[in-house]
């Protein structure tokens, strides 16, 4: 007779939390894509959609948090299980805030109205792609409990910081030469800053993955 599988309820419910984390990742990724797309195309309808749909990300965050609390209360998880659940609770907060950063870009797009873009966008879409790639890799590292992959994600944050510095310097340069453009340059700076913050939050997720995999809590990027 086959041996009954122990802790099947705990395993199933951790599996459901993981499924919801992947769903949340999909929504956050979509919000980043749409917010930067709305900026590039100056599409206020898409920007408004990002703002309106942020509630789905928020709801999923609370759903996952409640599921984690219920598991702790009812299943008394320990060791690796406990670390996974605690990490999931941190990860949903980070992803929820990423959704807020995407919303921040969308709100900036609406605030910009019909004003033309100060310059063609090059680095900001690159920053968005890099943020998405970092997020995708961090979730893959989480799924595989892979500390090395998580550390590699954190290394990508240096590229993000480089892009942000380049955008910052370029926009400050423009502002110093054409003070009339200050408002429009500041709008773009806000957008770039939101993307840079998303990458910081991905790094926090990577730190959680290292914690799940090794039990060590460490800062990956100062």
């Amino acid at each position: 007779m086959a041996r009954p599988r122990l802790r099947s309820t705990l395993d199933r419910e951790i599996g459901e939390i993981n499924d919801d984390l992947l769903r949340m990742h999909k929504l956050v990724d979509q919000a980043i894509v749409r917010s930067v797309d709305s900026l590039t195309r100056r599409d206020q309808a898409t920007a408004q959609q990002v703002i309106d749909e942020d509630i789905q990300i928020n709801d999923l965050r609370y759903k996952i948090e409640e599921a984690c609390l219920a598991l702790i209360a009812t299943q008394q998880p320990a060791a690796g299980d406990l670390r996974s659940i605690i990490a999931a609770m941190h990860m949903v907060v980070e992803m929820e805030r990423m959704g807020d950063h995407a919303t921040g870009i969308a709100k900036t797009v609406i605030r910009m109205g019909d004003e033309p873009l100060l310059k063609p966008l090059v680095d900001i879409p690159r920053m968005a792609e890099l943020a998405r790639e970092m997020l995708r890799q961090s979730l893959a590292a989480y799924a595989g409990r892979d500390a090395a992959k998580a550390r590699a994600v954190a290394d990508l944050d240096d590229q993000m910081d480089g892009l942000y510095k380049a955008v910052f310097s370029e926009l400050v340069e423009i502002m110093s030469h054409t003070p009339d453009s200050a408002a429009r340059a500041t709008y773009l700076l806000w957008c770039a800053h939101n993307l840079e913050r998303i990458a910081d939050r991905v790094t926090n997720i990577a730190e959680r993955v290292v914690f799940i995999a090794t039990g060590d809590m460490q800062e990956l990027n100062d």
């Binding site: 122990l6 320990a78 060791a79 406990l82 039990g215």
Partner: protein
């Protein structure tokens, strides 16, 4: 030197045999003074055998044989000439099922001091009984009727009476073999609270099947498996990031 970092008990390469069956294999462990050390593991893993080695409770089992050392304050309890009665006074034991004598509450607690001649006169004995019952967190419940039959107490009260009986002979170490397994959650919580208080004065070693209990009360936890000590570390570490896969599997409930 005394305190939490002071090894009260040092077990060195302990092997224990029931006839040809080896129940403990090369177990070494330092048990620190005024800490609670919990031993966990599945049935038959050797944790109770280990506990009973600490005050030679296994001595009378036919065919039993022990190798290695159990040092208490540096002295091997298995040395020839050790007074086993005195050893068991220093290292008291509380069992799974409360086992009060069919006597009054007072006489249960006074039994040990009377036999060992620890007190001078009735006043001294009265004080010792009151102090022991107070330390066992039972005094307030029984002080008005010390002549009451011990067997008339609730199970939780009976277990605390057994703890008071151990305390009355002024031990240094208290061994507890699943002391809450017969108790309801409230009585269990009272014993756990009591253990935290007793820890201020005594070194406690507890065997428990209840992993949450080990996590709640112990400073250090050891996992036994097939007679071996698999891992022994601070409880907070054992229950959050054990180093051995066997420990991880056992405490997450995926094996056992």
């Amino acid at each position: 030197m005394a305190g939490a970092d002071h090894p009260k008990i040092e077990v060195q390469e302990l092997n224990f045999y029931y006839g040809s069956f080896q129940a403990l294999e090369n177990v070494s462990m330092e048990i620190h003074e005024r800490q609670i050390t919990a031993l966990i593991g599945p049935s038959g893993c050797g944790k109770t055998t280990f506990l009973r080695c600490l005050n030679r409770m296994n001595d009378d089992i036919p065919g039993a044989r022990v190798e290695g050392k159990v040092l208490i304050e540096g002295e091997d309890v298995y040395e020839q000439g050790v007074d086993v009665v005195e050893l068991r006074r220093r290292v008291g034991m509380v069992f799974q099922k409360p086992n009060p004598f069919p006597q009054s509450v007072f006489d249960n607690v006074a039994f040990g001091p009377r036999v060992l001649g620890l007190t001078n006169g009735r006043t001294d004995l009265n004080e010792l009984v009151e102090r022991s019952l107070t330390r066992a967190a039972l005094w307030e419940e029984v002080k008005d009727d010390l002549a009451k039959e011990a067997l008339g107490l609730s199970l939780g009260e009976q277990q605390r009476l057994c703890i008071a009986r151990v305390l009355a002979v002024e031990p240094e170490i208290i061994l507890m073999d699943e002391p809450c397994s017969a108790l309801d959650p409230i009585a269990t919580a009272k014993i756990e609270e009591l253990m935290r208080q007793l820890r201020e004065r005594y070194t406690i070693v507890i065997v428990t099947h209840n992993m949450q209990q080990a996590a709640r009360v112990s400073d250090r936890t050891g996992l036994f498996w097939l007679g071996k000590l698999v891992e022994f570390d601070e409880a907070a570490r054992i229950f959050t990031r054990p180093t051995q896969q066997l420990t991880e599997d056992y405490i997450t409930g995926r094996m056992g």
